[in-house]
């Protein structure tokens, strides 16, 4: 994890004490906000997980120990939904890393004219309100939608029925997701523009072609961005559920393929109104995400390259 040097409880000089006071003062807004809007609610939900809290509370509220956790680990739907999320993640993570990177490479190409204009175009879908975007894609990806019209025009007699075929629903969700990569493109573009031009010049003198430059200069310099995108990508994909919720009204169709973990969590909370079990699912998700990102941070030492590293 990102690290300021660990502070030891040494005797502080008056100057250091003054500095510390200022430091606390500046971070105070976050400390208050964290306590009020994160820590206390979190503890409250943690408390829920040891009770039988439901919305209607037909039975008296009692402490049930680890019953909810026992149910959690023996709940086949939980494991199925976790599987759905992981399967989608396998497809989504490479896409959310590569697609913005590739578009950013294109927009950063010296030979491209009007790149500032194109940047606006590629950013555009990012500002479409979410619900409107999903409806639009529902129409685009319908069996008789524009996407299949084009595929038929290109000679594909039986284009996939994207939203109803268990094998094609994930690619369809990926397509819908790609539409919102505007922010990712901008971040990648920024990374590319941060690479010192001299390095490319030097590589060219060495006779390196486009591919060699990409491999030896661009990619190593982009590893921090890739890392950043990967971390945020994991956080996002593990919590993914809004698109299937709206697209399939939360049914998990086709054949349970879109009953993502977070959707199952959401349904337990709001549809089944089982607050205790919903909270348990939420906490388990938090632990999984935390574990995954910690592992990623640990591995980062091996492959993330920092230009300014001392």
């Amino acid at each position: 994890m990102t690290a300021a040097p660990p502070s030891r409880p040494v005797r502080m000089t008056p100057l250091a004490r003054r500095e510390a006071r200022w430091g606390y003062l500046f971070i105070l807004p976050w400390v208050i906000g964290f306590a009020a809007f994160t820590a206390l609610p979190m503890l409250a939900t943690l408390g829920f997980t040891f009770t039988n809290l439901t919305l209607t509370q037909d039975e008296p509220l009692t402490f049930v120990g680890i019953d909810n956790y026992r149910h959690l680990f023996s709940d086949p739907q939980m494991w199925r939904s976790l599987g759905v999320t992981l399967r989608f993640a396998v497809l989504w993570l490479p896409t959310v890393i590569l697609a913005p990177f590739a578009v950013a490479l294109l927009l950063n190409a010296k030979s491209l004219r009007g790149s500032r204009f194109f940047r606006v175009l590629f950013f555009l879908p990012y500002v479409v309100p979410f619900v409107a975007g999903v409806f639009l894609w529902q129409s685009m990806l319908a069996n008789d939608g524009w996407v299949n019209d084009v595929l038929r025009f290109l000679g594909l007699a039986q284009p996939p029925n994207w939203l109803f075929d268990r094998d094609w629903i994930y690619p369809a969700l990926v397509v819908i997701g790609i539409w919102g990569i505007g922010a990712g493109i901008i971040i990648n573009l920024a990374g590319l523009q941060g690479i010192p031009a001299e390095l490319y010049d030097a590589a060219q003198i060495d006779g390196a072609g486009w591919w060699a430059q990409l491999r030896n200069v661009t990619i190593p310099f982009m590893t921090p961005i890739i890392f950043y995108s990967l971390v945020l990508g994991i956080v996002e994909v593990m919590q993914y559920f809004l698109v299937p919720l709206v697209l399939k009204s939360g049914t998990g169709e086709p054949g349970g393929a879109t009953l993502f973990y977070n959707l199952y969590l959401y349904k337990n909370f709001f549809t089944f109104q089982n607050m205790a079990y919903g909270a348990t699912l939420a906490w388990f998700l938090f632990v999984i995400i935390l574990a995954a990102t910690l592992a990623l941070f640990w591995s980062a030492r091996r492959w993330v390259f920092y230009a300014g590293e001392r």
């Binding site: 990102t2 971070i27 979190m42 939900t45 030979s111 309100p129």
Partner: protein
């Protein structure tokens, strides 16, 4: 274009952008259609009505009917499975029988866009009011976020204090927190405070910083050399002065970045305004207002898309104006990730 390569790359980009943006064309087509048009079979992709002919108070659809001596545009008088009766609009008195299935015939279409969808949205959701709400929420939320996150990031980047590492780790960990974990208790607190039905549950937290933006800003501030603030400090400037006159002038690309991301995020935020403002339609932003056209038995895709297209203008303008700083802001932050 100077070189063929430039031409090729640019053309490819145009093509890619065309594909990428094609849903907007679909959106525009939907926005210009009526519900009836959207339910028509084998209709063109643009909003169109089949040409019709009115005769003796009856409206009849005109088809392109093939005969041995060529195709004629005739109005369908009496449809039948294997043979039908048509009339010629030029001579409606004579009934023309035709053998074959009328369903296989092409219709002649006329372009019929419904521009009133835009004005309908304007009136139905009280667009000016809703737009004002959206802007106000986005602007205040952005100010709060930028202000608080800058202060907090400055605190983490420039001051040493016991527990800093632990607190920063804690801050980062909140990024990984699923929203559902805190929703119910948070909502309960806002109810107790009497804030539900006001903008406060949405705006107040913005003034208490968030992990994403603090992280981004802190990374950026770390790249700014300390020499200048040390010099200012020796000159007797306090931390606030240093932040204002030394740090901010160098950090504004990152600040603009945080500003734009926050603005767009707040602009489209749906869930928060939905649950906190359900009692007060007069306070709702556009994202919630548009959802009103998505009723279970009253969905109106045309109004949703018309409303969406009308809402894009402001964020896009903002992006165009600020994009230069914006990209520089992340450029330096990006290479400074995890320093």
């Amino acid at each position: 274009m100077r070189s063929p390569k430039a031409l090729a790359v640019t053309l490819f980009t145009v093509l890619l952008a065309g594909v990428f943006l094609s849903p907007f064309l679909r959106s525009a087509m939907i926005a210009l259609s009526t519900r009836e048009q959207l339910g028509q079979a084998n209709a063109p992709i643009w909003p169109a009505n089949p040409a019709t002919f009115e005769y003796q108070g009856r409206e009849m659809v005109i088809y392109e009917v093939p005969f041995d001596d060529g195709t004629r545009d005739l109005a369908l008088l009496r449809p039948g499975r294997t043979s039908s009766e048509f009339i010629d609009p030029a001579d409606p008195e004579t009934v023309i029988p035709w053998e074959g299935s009328w369903r296989a015939l092409e219709r002649s279409w006329t372009v019929a866009p419904t521009w009133s969808n835009f004005s309908d949205v304007w009136v139905l959701i009280d667009y000016p009011r809703v737009l004002f709400n959206t802007i106000a929420l986005a602007v205040i939320g952005t100010i709060g976020t930028v202000l608080s996150c800058t202060l907090v990031a400055y605190g983490f980047a420039r001051f040493r204090f016991p527990g800093r590492g632990m607190l920063f780790t804690l801050l980062i960990a909140t990024i990984f927190l699923p929203a559902a974990v805190t929703l119910i208790p948070t909502y309960t607190v806002f109810v107790k405070l009497g804030w539900v039905g006001t903008w406060l549950p949405i705006l107040v937290p913005a003034f208490f910083a968030n992990a994403y933006d603090v992280f981004l800003l802190r990374q950026y501030l770390m790249t700014i050399p300390r020499d200048l603030d040390e010099a200012a400090s020796i000159d007797g400037a306090g931390p606030f002065r240093i932040l204002w006159s030394v740090i901010l002038p160098q950090a504004w690309p990152a600040v603009v970045t945080v500003g734009i991301f926050t603005f767009v995020y707040t602009w489209n935020d749906f869930f928060g305004p939905l649950i906190y403002l359900s009692t007060r339609p007069d306070l709702q932003p556009i994202s919630v207002a548009l959802a009103r056209f998505n009723g279970l038995y009253s969905s109106n895709p045309a109004l949703i898309q018309a409303g969406t297209l009308m809402t894009l203008i402001l964020p896009v303008l903002l992006f165009i104006v600020f994009q230069r700083f914006f990209i520089r802001g992340i450029a330096l932050t990006g290479s400074g990730v995890e320093r």
